[in-house]
């Protein structure tokens, strides 16, 4: 029994990490349709920002080290968002009608960001010490639930909830949805689509920063941490169905649970191989997430 609980918890935990790296993409790729290969590097930026905030605390306010994380969260969000905003303004704006090209250009951006990180922080991984109050775990029915994992799970649920409220209940969020649903119509109604694009992209990038912040709790971080997650993140969004937040949530937890299950019965490597093969096969079977809305025009 405790094995089952552990596995299910591990599944949800992995799912929560996948969901975190994919939330931002659900906005930039899912809603806006931009392929941002530098998404992983925006995660990396968030992670390094957490590291920087921690270093500052360690130097100037060692007595309040326990709270550095609460400062790191908004810092990571805003730095990544600002970077995303700039990226949209300078580069992506010109490539909205050339998705394949935006894929290549943002890949270039990701290489540059990686190199910059390497120059500033050095090539080896750096460790971020999690706040002490996240050490240990709670023991229920003979199973230990580490606080860090629980914290990430709660953190991601709050984030996705905030994003949902933002998109559906605030005027700014509704403008984003209006533009992504029908750009021409929205612009006729007096919405500045350019502003909304930049804004939405910044929001998506900010969530990447949050993901980076969360990842520091799991282990050391390095310049290539983004590359490690980028393909997974895209798979989550595609599997869930492009343009639907709930799909991304289901996709992330689905992949998390199935991979942990397979990891339990085989090995970590084979689980990853089988998971990806399964996703590819599933999308062949049911490309519904992939096909666009029915229209009259050809192509």
């Amino acid at each position: 029994m405790s094995v089952v609980i552990t596995q299910v918890f591990n599944g949800f935990s992995l799912g929560s990490i996948l969901l975190f790296v994919a939330i931002g993409l659900a906005v930039t790729f899912g809603l806006m349709g931009v392929i941002n290969m530098a998404h992983g590097e925006l995660i990396m930026v968030g992670a390094y920002m957490t590291y920087v905030v921690q270093q500052i605390f360690a130097k100037y306010a060692p007595q309040s080290m326990g709270y550095y994380f609460f400062i790191a969260i908004p810092v990571a969000f805003f730095v990544s968002a600002l970077l995303g905003w700039g990226l949209e303004k300078i580069l992506i704006r010109h490539l909205y009608h050339r998705p394949l090209d935006s894929l290549l250009a943002t890949w270039g951006v990701s290489l540059i960001l990686q190199q910059i990180a390497r120059t500033i922080f050095g090539a080896p991984n750096v460790a971020v010490l999690p706040p002490e109050w996240l050490d240990g775990g709670v023991r229920i029915a003979g199973v230990v639930f580490p606080y860090k994992r629980l914290f990430i799970l709660v953190f991601v649920i709050l984030s996705i909830f905030a994003l949902y409220i933002y998109l559906t209940k605030t005027p700014a969020g509704r403008r984003i949805r209006a533009v992504t649903l029908n750009r021409d119509m929205a612009s006729c109604l007096g919405i500045s689509t350019r502003k909304v694009d930049a804004y939405a992209f910044a929001i998506g990038s900010g969530f990447a920063g949050l993901a980076g912040c969360a990842l520091t709790l799991l282990g050391p971080i390095g310049p290539t941490i983004g590359t490690y997650y980028i393909v997974d993140a895209f798979m989550v969004v595609i599997l869930g169905g492009v343009g639907k937040l709930i799909g991304t949530v289901l996709g992330a937890f689905g992949i998390g649970l199935v991979s942990t299950l397979m990891e339990y019965s085989t090995s970590a490597t084979m689980a990853k191989v089988m998971m990806f093969a399964l996703i590819i096969a599933f999308l062949q079977w049911k490309p519904s997430g992939l096909v666009s809305v029915k229209t009259r025009s050809l192509d």
Partner: protein
Amino acid sequence: MTKKGWLYWLFFLALFAAPFYLTEFRLSLLGKFLCFAMIAIGISLIWGYTGILSLGHGVYFGLGAYCMAMYLKLESSHGRLPDFMEWSGVHQLPWFWKPFEHPLVAISSAIIIPVLLAAFLSYFTFKNRIKGVYFSLLSQAVVVVFVTLFIGKQEWTGGTNGLTNFSTVFGFPLSSPFTQIILYWITVCLLLLIFLFSRWLTVSRFGRVLVAIRDGENRVRFLGFNPTTYKVFVYSLSAAFAALAGIMFVLQVGLISPAMMGIIPSIEMVLWVAVGGRSSLIGAVIGAIVTNSAKSFFSENYPDIWLLFLGGLFIGVVMFLPNGLAGVYQSFKQRKGQREGKTHEAGSHVSRSVGGF
């Protein structure tokens, strides 16, 4: 022969003569780049002509190289178990390694396995009308599958180190300059064949179907063509080119590892083509040579800024040179043509197609 035709032959002649004017080290680099040029031609066919962006060609290249490397490894082990297997505690040669003792089996499976994989994958994907960036991302997922598998199954594939330490091929020592020059010449010949074949494809009606698919796949359906067949064919063909490149690569470089077939090399392959000009075959060849020369120049002299340069290249080419070097050459020629008042270019085409009339 046209002026352009002469330039092509001159280019290939210069490649043939390379052993006479390049040092051994530079020649081995060039041999490697020409393998990359083969891949680039294939990518130009699918991306530049047909509009399919594959981020998975590292896999086809890698599978071709691994199949060849398995033969080389067995030949170099002289009937004993390959060294890495012993280190991993394997006592018997796995069954699927056995057929690779025969060179013909190894070479033919080096082509057939990648082509079958490409055909299988592309048939279902294209039949289900998955295209554009979705196909690109799926092909990237395929890379993840294979790289993870090849690293994980260390006892069968050599893990992260890959397959290396070969001594001979068909009894000839791989390290001797003579063997290397012969291998280089074979590479040039194969590249020439691939180039001529692809050129024949693109100037024929088949090539126009490809361009039509790029312009509007659904419209092609309503002219009675089945785009799936064409896309699967051209995608598998480009996989065959990549596999062939893999064979020649492993023969000349003497090493294949998962890092050479991963996500980053796969996307770099696309960059070569973007630099040269995506819908120009000769552009793809030149792009592969130029980009890789730049890479070895930077990594020899300024390793730190190579990534910055590479990243800048991705952005710069996409933003400012969407047609690559070939596009620059063409617009230069056009400007020159306009200056000299040569505007009968278009007219000469009419007389060609309506020639018999």
